[in-house]
C-alpha cells in the first residue's frame, strides 16, 4: 500500500521545549490512523506540521510521495483537517462558512455538494443559522463538513471529540467509521482518550514526549491475551495459594489480600468465575482493565523509566 503521508525525522522545539523529537511514521491509504498520546505529547504539533501551519526545525514530510513545504501548499488540496477546536466565523451562517472554505479549496464545488456534505454530518436544516448559535457538537460537525467538502483523500482530525457530550462522542465515532467504511477516506485521528482510538483506528502510533513509542496495526499491537483482568473476593483465606496451585497461577500478574490480577484473554473470564465459585470463593468483583489503557500506560511508564 502506498503512503498518503510520511514523516521522516521530524523535529520541532519551542524554546527549550522539544515538542516533536525525531518522529517518523507513515500512513497508508485507507487506514484510520490513530495518533495516541497524552496532552502535550506532540500530537497537535505534528498534525500542524503536516498541514503546513508550523514549520519543522528539521526533517521531511511527504504527501502522496512528494516533499511538502511552504512552497508546495497545493499538496494540501487533497487533505481536509480540523485542528484542535473547530473555530469559524461566528457572525456568518454555517452555510456561509462552508461556502467560504469550500471556495478556498481550489476545487470546483457545486451547491449540490455543499448540501450533500451537510447531510453527511447531519446539519441539514440548520445551515442558515449563525455559527455563534451552534452547540460545540454542531461546530465540530461543521468543521468536519468543511474538511470533507472538497472530497479529500485524507482527513486529519485533531481531538475531534473534545468538548462533546457522550452522545456527540458516539456520533463522531460513527461518522469516522462511516468516512472510512462508506466513503473510503484515509483518516488520521488524534486523541488522548485511549478507548476512542481502539474503537475507530486500524493503525496507530503512540507518541510520548515528542517521540514515537510504538506504531503498527491496532489488532497486532493490542493482543487480547494481554488483557488485564482483576478479581476481588470477600473470603480471602488461601485465595492466593489455591490460585497458584491452579491453571490460573501462570496467568497471575500481581496479588493483594483478597484480590488478584491476571493477564489473560477476556473470553476465559466465565471459566475463571466458575472455578472461583466451585472453590467457595465469594466473588465481589471481576473487572477487565482496558487493554489499550494498560498497554499505553506500560509503554509510557517504560519510556519515563528509561529517561
Amino acid at each position: 500500500m502506498p503512503s498518503i503521508v510520511e514523516t521522516r525525522n521530524l523535529y520541532k522545539s519551542f524554546g527549550s521545549f522539544k515538542a516533536v523529537n525525531g518522529l517518523s511514521f507513515s500512513i497508508e491509504k485507507g487506514d484510520v490512523y490513530g495518533f495516541l498520546g497524552q496532552n502535550g505529547a506532540g500530537k497537535s504539533t505534528t498534525m500542524r506540521m503536516i498541514m503546513g501551519l508550523i514549520f519543522p526545525d528539521s526533517g521531511e514530510i511527504f504527501i502522496n510521495g512528494e516533499t511538502f513545504n511552504n512552497s508546495k501548499r497545493h499538496l494540501l488540496k487533497n487533505i481536509g483537517a480540523v485542528i484542535e477546536r473547530p473555530d469559524m466565523y461566528g457572525y456568518l451562517s454555517g452555510w456561509d462558512n462552508l461556502r467560504i472554505f469550500a471556495a478556498l479549496s481550489d476545487k470546483n464545488i457545486t451547491k449540490a455538494r455543499l448540501h450533500e456534505v451537510l447531510e453527511v454530518v447531519g446539519l441539514t436544516g440548520r445551515e442558515k443559522d449563525k455559527v455563534k448559535a451552534y452547540s460545540q457538537g454542531m461546530k465540530q460537525r461543521l468543521g468536519i463538513a468543511i474538511a470533507l467538502v472538497h472530497q479529500p483523500d485524507l482527513l486529519v482530525l485533531d481531538e475531534p471529540t473534545n468538548g462533546l457530550d457522550p452522545q456527540g462522542i458516539a456520533e463522531m465515532r460513527q461518522l469516522i467509521n462511516r468516512l472510512s467504511g462508506d466513503l473510503g477516506k484515509t483518516v488520521m485521528v488524534s486523541s488522548h482518550l485511549l478507548h476512542e482510538i481502539e474503537q475507530v483506528a486500524t493503525g496507530m502510533l503512540v507518541i510520548h514526549k515528542g517521540k514515537k513509542i510504538v506504531s503498527g496495526k491496532v489488532k497486532d499491537l493490542l493482543n487480547p491475551d494481554e488483557t488485564l483482568v482483576s478479581v476481588a473476593v470477600t473470603n480471602d483465606t488461601h485465595f492466593v495459594e489455591k490460585l497458584n496451585q491452579s491453571q490460573w497461577g501462570k496467568m497471575m500478574e500481581r496479588t493483594t489480600s483478597g484480590s488478584a490480577t491476571f493477564k489473560m484473554n477476556p473470553s476465559v473470564i466465565p471459566d475463571l468465575n466458575k472455578w472461583l465459585v466451585e472453590h467457595d470463593f465469594r466473588v465481589k468483583e471481576i473487572k477487565s482493565e482496558h487493554s489499550l489503557e494498560a498497554y499505553f500506560l506500560s509503554l509510557t511508564h517504560d519510556t519515563d523509566t528509561q529517561n
Binding site: M51, L53, L104
Partner: protein, 279 residues
Amino acid sequence: MIQILRIEIYKIFKRPRTYISFGIVLAITLVIQLALFSDGKEFLGFFMQGINEQFDVQGNILNGYLVAYVILHSLLMQIPLLVALVAGDSLAGEANLGTLRLLLTKPISRTKLVLMKFLSSFIYTLILIIWLAIVALFVSMLLFGTGDMINIKSDSFVVILQNDVMWRYLLAFCFATLAMTTIASLSLLLSAFADNAIGPIISTMGIVVVMTILCNLQLPVFNHIIPYLFTPHMVGWKGFFDDPIPYAAIGRSAITLAAYTIVFLAATIYYFNKKDIKS
C-alpha cells in the same frame, strides 16, 4: 486570487464592526456641520479678524467647500484609527478567532493571503474615504451651498475660485487614500505579529501619535529624523488647497508614503511566511 479577495471583502462587510467606522465618520461630520450651521459666523469671524481689517470679503464664505476642509482637518487622527480597526484585525483577528488555522489548512499560499488581506483593507479604506467625501463634501455643499473657497492659514490665506475647487478635492481624497493605505499596511504588519486585534490597533495609533508629537515638537534633536517619518507626509493633501500647488513636495510625500507601504507589506509577507501558527 480574485476568489480570496472576494471572500475577504465579503467577510469585512458582513461584520457589524465595519459599519461602526462609517457611523463614526457620519456622526463626527454631522456634529461639525451642525456646530458650523449654528455658530459658523462667529467661528469664521474669529479666523477672519486679520483678513477683514485689510480686505473687503463678500459672498458665501462659510460654504460647503470650507466646511469640508474644516471637517477633513478635524478627522486627522480619527480616520487612521478607523482604518486600523479593520486592517489591524485582518490577521490578528483571524488568529484570535482561530479561523487563521482553518484558512491555512487550505491550499492557498501565505503570500497570496497577505496580499489579499492588504487589498481588501485598501478597498475598505477607499470606500471609507469615498463615504467621507460624500458626507463631508457633498452633504456640506447641500447644507451650506457653494462659493469661492477661502483657505485660511496661520500667516496667510488663499482664495480658490468656485470652479477651481472640485478637482482639488478629488486629488486631496486620492492622496488621503494613499496616506490611509500606508496606515493600513502598518496595521497589517503589526497584525501579523499578534494573535489579538487590540494590540495592532493600539500599536498603530501609538506609532502615529508618537510620530506626530515628534514632528509637532520641532525640537532640533529630532530634526534629522523627521523627514524620514511618514506622518508629516500624511497631511500632504493640504497642498492641493495652496496657490501655487507645491507639486514637488506633494510628489515627495506621495513617494515616501508609497515606499513605506511597500516596505510594510514586504515585511508582513516575509514574516508571515515564516510564522508558526500556534493559535
